[in-house]
């Protein structure tokens, strides 16, 4: 596949199919998770709680992968110790998008810690379902809103929506990018269903034995 030849990015623009897809997948998994959290609060069925928890767990994995790949990508596009026209690493570390994404991930780490620290099953399900809704509400300011307000090296500062903007992403790349988002998301959903089936088997044993 041919890609647009851009300065500073060159071939690394191909990371769009990987790094950006990781975050899309994470957002979708967290969205499904919050839907199941609300479903649990409405129905009180523990199955929904298991669904909600596993979607968060896999979403966090994709978030970490997105963060790690972003760290590699920015090391070679934003910063260059041998080229004074690039930023220094200390300037890159103050990037609002990085800090926001780190906060968002830490909030979801706290979800896992909170969950495993409550022994009572019903109480755990109820408290973490409510926490999940709060975490989801905080996800938007930390990764969508604040990085757009502050000046940022990351795409999507003053020039609108990264990846989704029709003026921003080349048509040839969108041909690969959208199926890639769908593919990575389906992979994430498949891993989640494996984990859900596993947990339900284990819980069944706990409940009956």
């Amino acid at each position: 596949m041919d890609v647009p030849r851009l300065p500073a990015l060159s071939e690394t623009i191909r990371n769009l199919y990987f790094h950006v897809c990781m975050w899309f997948c994470m957002m979708i998994l967290f969205t499904v998770s919050v839907i199941y959290a609300i479903k649990y609060l409405r129905s009180n069925r523990l199955v929904h709680d298991v669904y909600s928890r596993q979607f968060v767990a896999v979403g966090v994995v994709f978030g970490i992968l997105g963060y790690a790949t972003g760290a590699i990508w920015m090391s070679y596009t934003w910063a260059d110790p041998n080229n004074s026209s690039f930023q220094s690493f200390s300037a890159v570390a103050r990037e609002p998008k990085l800090i926001g994404a780190a906060i968002a991930l830490l909030i979801y780490f706290a979800y896992m810690v909170l969950r495993d620290s409550i022994p009572d099953i019903d109480k755990r399900a109820r408290i973490t379902a409510v926490y999940n809704i709060f975490a989801y509400a905080l996800l938007f300011p930390t990764i969508w809103i604040i990085p757009r307000i502050l000046p940022s090296l990351h795409p999507g500062g003053e020039n609108g929506n990264p990846a989704l903007d029709t003026n921003d992403v080349d048509a040839r790349m969108r041909l690969v990018f959208y199926p890639a988002v769908a593919g990575w998301t389906l992979l994430g959903v498949w891993i989640t269903t494996l984990k859900i089936r596993f947990t339900l088997l284990k819980e069944k044993r706990l409940l009956h034995g």
């Binding site: 071939e11 990987f18 970490i64 790949t69 070679y76 596009t77 891993i191 494996l194 088997l201 284990k202």
Partner: protein
Amino acid sequence: MAKLKYLLICVALLLFCANLYAQTEGEKVEMADTMRGNGRIFVVVAVVLVILIGLILYLVRLDKKISKLEKERE
């Protein structure tokens, strides 16, 4: 006489200095620039490898958990 000696040493040092300068400009310094060369395609390779290794490790862990459950069943 002593002054002349110092002067000569200074001139000699300056000569060395010019020599060093010429060397850095003339020769191409060999550095590990692979990640910044070839249109930086290796950055994409690194990103893909991170994702693959991350997902595979996660799935291996899940596999181990499932085998443990299977063993307990027997």
